[in-house]
């Protein structure tokens, strides 16, 4: 069999190789039946002719950002110069003190041993396409750093890291390529030297956003910008969110025969609860379960109806330090104004990480943040609430959100809860800090432009889907037994929902998904009706 020529680092600036890599459905990660036949799955959506003319698809035929093509050579040149100025700022301590030290360490000390490559679920799922190798992107940036930023003899630098030609082709492909990694950082975990190729994705996205003003529309324009101006990345204004929450309260009180009562702007409450606002729209049971649980535990809590105060997302953590800081600052300011002891962060991975440890370093530790996993554990084992674990008598597995587990070290609280309240709990393999990303990390779960959803389902999400199927392989394979994937993170839930839809796993295998609090409330003896209703999921 003739082997395809592998893509070289320098190929990224060669416009004659089009596309740079071809990627599509493949069986490198084999799935068990009935998911083993590729022909039964949707392929990659073809881009329309008008889309192909407007945006650059020359990386891999997939479009996530949709970089507009420059109209003239002058415009191209201008962008190249802007890129160089951004590159220099990325390595300056004034402009990028936030990540300069780890960035320099990664730039200077990679031994190119490729130990990280095997750990990347995207590289594997693509059938080992070179452009997705964790070191590929890093190597491009490293050569650019040596060529344009680091002082020294050009000849020596070529000898050390090789040369690269900088042109618009490279830049536009690199923009897209910085949205082909979920920043799960399994690669960094495997690196014996401590090099972090996930960080490179993060820093590249920052360069493009902070200097060129280019970012995924869902993260910037519809994300942080909308959040800061309208109040939420979902577009919900304070009026809408209050209306929705009161609807959820009524709807669930009616169905469950228990009072679900959300509170707004309560002065002197102990805690401000901030959910990822997507929960209200897509998974209303989750905030309702929080309300029931917090009240049952006697915790004095409140929502805030101030702009940004009711949406805990902070997409800046994936692409822009300043947007990150602006959103985080609003959260802290609102909590301070309310006079609460701290913020309870809902089941959202990047909210927990951005507020709990990243913003903490920027703005200080005066506003305390409580992550949902430890809070739920505290409540469950406080003895204040009676549980009947038999109510959760269906198979349950746990997905570890990267942000909460690998990147914050919150591993056991959620497991202690599940071991107690879900008698049929089983782990995925691997799990805990070695988990695989859901495939929707770093904002992918909210991005579905062009054919990016197909890429997310076939490439970035495939490993997780296999893990989910494997976790339930000792159960009857059909839909007759409902199986629950507990994913305590809104972003992961969005991705897992899309995977289950795409592969038809609810119909074929009876696989459902939800958060952690739903399982907890479902086991509460006080509830007359089951909280989890599979027929509604």
């Amino acid at each position: 069999m003739a082997e395809k020529r592998k893509v070289r680092i320098s190929d990224i600036s060669n416009p004659n190789i089009y596309p740079l890599a071809e990627v599509g459905p493949n069986n490198t990660i084999e799935l068990p039946p009935p998911y083993d036949k590729l022909e039964n799955l949707p392929g990659f959506k073809k881009l329309s002719e008008s889309a192909r003319q407007a945006v650059d698809d020359s990386l891999d035929g997939v479009v996530a950002v949709g970089v507009p093509k420059p109209k003239t050579p002058e415009e191209e040149q201008e962008l190249v110069e802007k890129f160089i100025s951004g590159l220099i700022k990325l390595f300056s301590k004034e402009n990028n003190w936030t990540f300069l030290q780890p960035l320099l360490l990664t730039m200077e000390h990679c031994a190119k041993c490729q130990t990280c490559a095997e750990e990347c679920p995207i590289f594997e799922a693509s059938g080992y396409e070179e452009i997705y190798r964790p070191t590929y992107r890093a190597e491009v940036l490293r050569r650019l750093y040596f060529k344009y930023v680091k002082p020294g003899s050009p000849l020596l630098k070529k000898f050390q890291v090789g040369d690269i030609e900088l042109n618009w082709t490279l830049i536009s492909r690199l923009i897209e390529l910085s949205y082909r990694c979920t920043i799960c950082r399994r690669c960094a975990q495997a690196c014996p030297i401590g090099i972090d190729n996930g960080l490179i994705t993060h820093e590249l996205r920052k360069l493009f956003s902070q200097e060129l003003g280019i970012a995924a529309k869902e993260l910037h324009e519809k994300g942080t910008v909308q959040q800061l101006l309208v109040g939420s990345s979902t577009g919900m204004t304070p009026e809408v969110v209050k209306d929705n929450v009161s609807f959820i309260d009524e709807d669930l009180s009616e169905r469950l025969g228990i009072k679900v009562e959300s509170k707004w702007d309560v002065p002197n409450a102990d805690y401000l609860l901030i959910h990822n606002a997507g929960e209200f729209l897509s998974w209303p049971e989750n905030p309702a379960a929080f309300a029931i649980l917090l009240d049952a535990a006697g915790i004095k809590w409140t929502y805030s109806s101030e702009l940004v105060g009711y949406d805990g997302v902070n997409y800046g953590v994936w692409y822009d330090d300043f947007q990150l800081a602006r959103v985080a600052q609003k959260h802290f300011e609102i909590a301070k104004k309310l006079g609460v002891k701290g913020i309870i962060m809902g089941e959202c991975g990047h909210e927990s990480k951005s507020m709990g440890i990243i913003a903490e370093r920027i703005f200080g530790n005066e506003i305390k943040t409580i992550n949902a996993m430890t809070l739920v554990e505290q409540i469950v084992f406080s003895g204040k609430i009676k549980f009947d674990p038999e109510r959760n008598n269906f198979p349950v597995t746990l997905h570890d959100p990267c942000n909460i587990v690998r990147l914050m070290g919150i591993v056991e609280p959620q497991r202690r809860v599940l071991r107690y309240l879900a008698p049929k709990f089983r782990e995925m393999e691997p799990h805990g800090v070695e988990n695989y990303c859901c495939g929707g990390g770093s904002g992918f779960a909210v991005m579905t432009p062009y054919n990016f959803l197909d890429w997310r389902m076939h490439i970035s999400g495939r490993k997780k889907f296999k893990q989910i199927l494997d976790a339930f392989k000792d159960e009857p394979p059909g839909p007759e037994v409902p199986k629950y994937v507990c994913a305590p993170c809104s972003n992961c839930k969005g991705q897992i929902r899309d995977i289950l839809d795409y592969y038809g796993a609810k119909e074929k295998s009876g696989i459902y998904y939800g958060g952690l609090v739903e399982l907890v409330v479902n086991a509460m003896v006080d509830l007359k009706e089951p909280f989890i209703d599979f027929s509604m999921m």
Partner: protein
């Protein structure tokens, strides 16, 4: 001073200056935002499964305990056993391990020679034909040379024949392996050629430290020592500085979980950094080269939303 002495000192001085200045540069780089990666080795009682103090409810009300022994144990496994490579890249370990062990053994034998010189265990006052000390050094150097050659050959072959490595290798990678490999080849030939190679090593270092004339050393010894001098000079310019930078990648990035308490040391440094002027030019940043980082981060978006929906 002989020319070999000059070359050796030149290499050594450049090595020390560059290693120290690079370490200072990275150690004094700004405090970065938290970016830790679990398992964090100093998490007491939790490191084995990757847990952190953030697992504790209201963690700030509890004392933060750092398990320094845990850190040391992890470092030991990483340095001595090359655990990361063993777990994630087994086939490379069989090249990387002998390669690194050879370096450790070579450094150990050199340090022992220095100790011998300091404490007067030298060919001048001890019989090197019968004493155990030179015999021991002899074994160390033999082992170092043989392991080093094996390691270099395995790594070189892997880089050449494994496409995954070849595609990401530059001339410097082959050169570095060959250079280190040649160090061991020359030391091996030296050991083979001369019955008193250890004595000659001693003689060289003694003459270097006392600035006296060189003793009799075979040609292969000269080649070895020139190579060594060049290697010392060359190393700080390469990615091989990871031998000490690894301290920072682990302690200052992976394991940096320091909370930002009021009056803490990092708070003071952060306050300075928040006042750095910013130059990013995307319109939504609103930087002008004078406004500081914190002013930008706490001011409203400088752009209007272009379209609703």
């Amino acid at each position: 001073m002989e020319f070999l002495h000059f070359a050796f000192y030149f290499g050594l001085v450049i090595f020390l200056i560059l290693v120290i200045s690079k370490a200072i540069k990275i150690a004094t780089a700004p405090v970065h935002l938290r970016w830790e990666l679990y398992p964090v080795a100093h998490e007491k009682g939790k490191a084995h499964y990757g847990g952190s103090y953030l697992e504790e409810f209201e963690w700030w009300t509890k004392p933060l305990k750092k398990d320094l022994l845990g850190e040391l144990w992890t470092m030991f496994q990483e340095i001595v056993l090359l655990k990361g490579v063993w777990e994630h890249n087994r086939s490379l370990w069989f090249g990387s391990a002998p390669f690194h062990y050879a370096l450790y053994l070579y450094i150990a034998s050199t340090l022992l020679i220095f100790l011998g010189l300091i404490f007067g265990v030298t060919p001048d006052n001890v019989d090197f034909q019968t004493s155990w000390f030179p015999q021991f050094l002899n074994i160390l150097l033999w082992l170092a040379s043989i392991l080093g050659i094996i390691g270099a050959i395995v790594l070189l072959f892997k880089r050449i024949f494994d496409e995954n490595l070849r595609l990401y290798s530059n001339p410097s990678h082959y050169f570095n392996i060959l250079l280190i490999g040649m160090l061991y080849v020359t030391s091996l030939v030296w050991l083979l050629n001369s019955e008193n190679a250890i004595g000659e090593f001693f003689g060289f270092y003694k003459s270097a430290f006392t600035f006296s004339s060189l003793p009799e050393i075979p040609v292969i010894g000269y080649i070895h020592l020139y190579l060594l001098s060049f290697f010392l000079f060359y190393l700080p310019f390469t990615h091989m500085t990871h031998f000490f930078m690894k301290y920072f990648t682990y302690h200052k990035v992976r394991w940096d979980d320091e909370p930002n308490f009021p009056n803490s040391k990092i708070r003071k440094r952060l306050m300075e950094q928040l006042n750095f002027p910013v130059q990013w030019s995307a319109p939504h940043i609103g930087a002008d080269g004078r406004k500081t980082w914190v002013v930008i981060a706490t001011s409203p978006l400088p752009i209007k939303e272009n379209k609703n929906g």
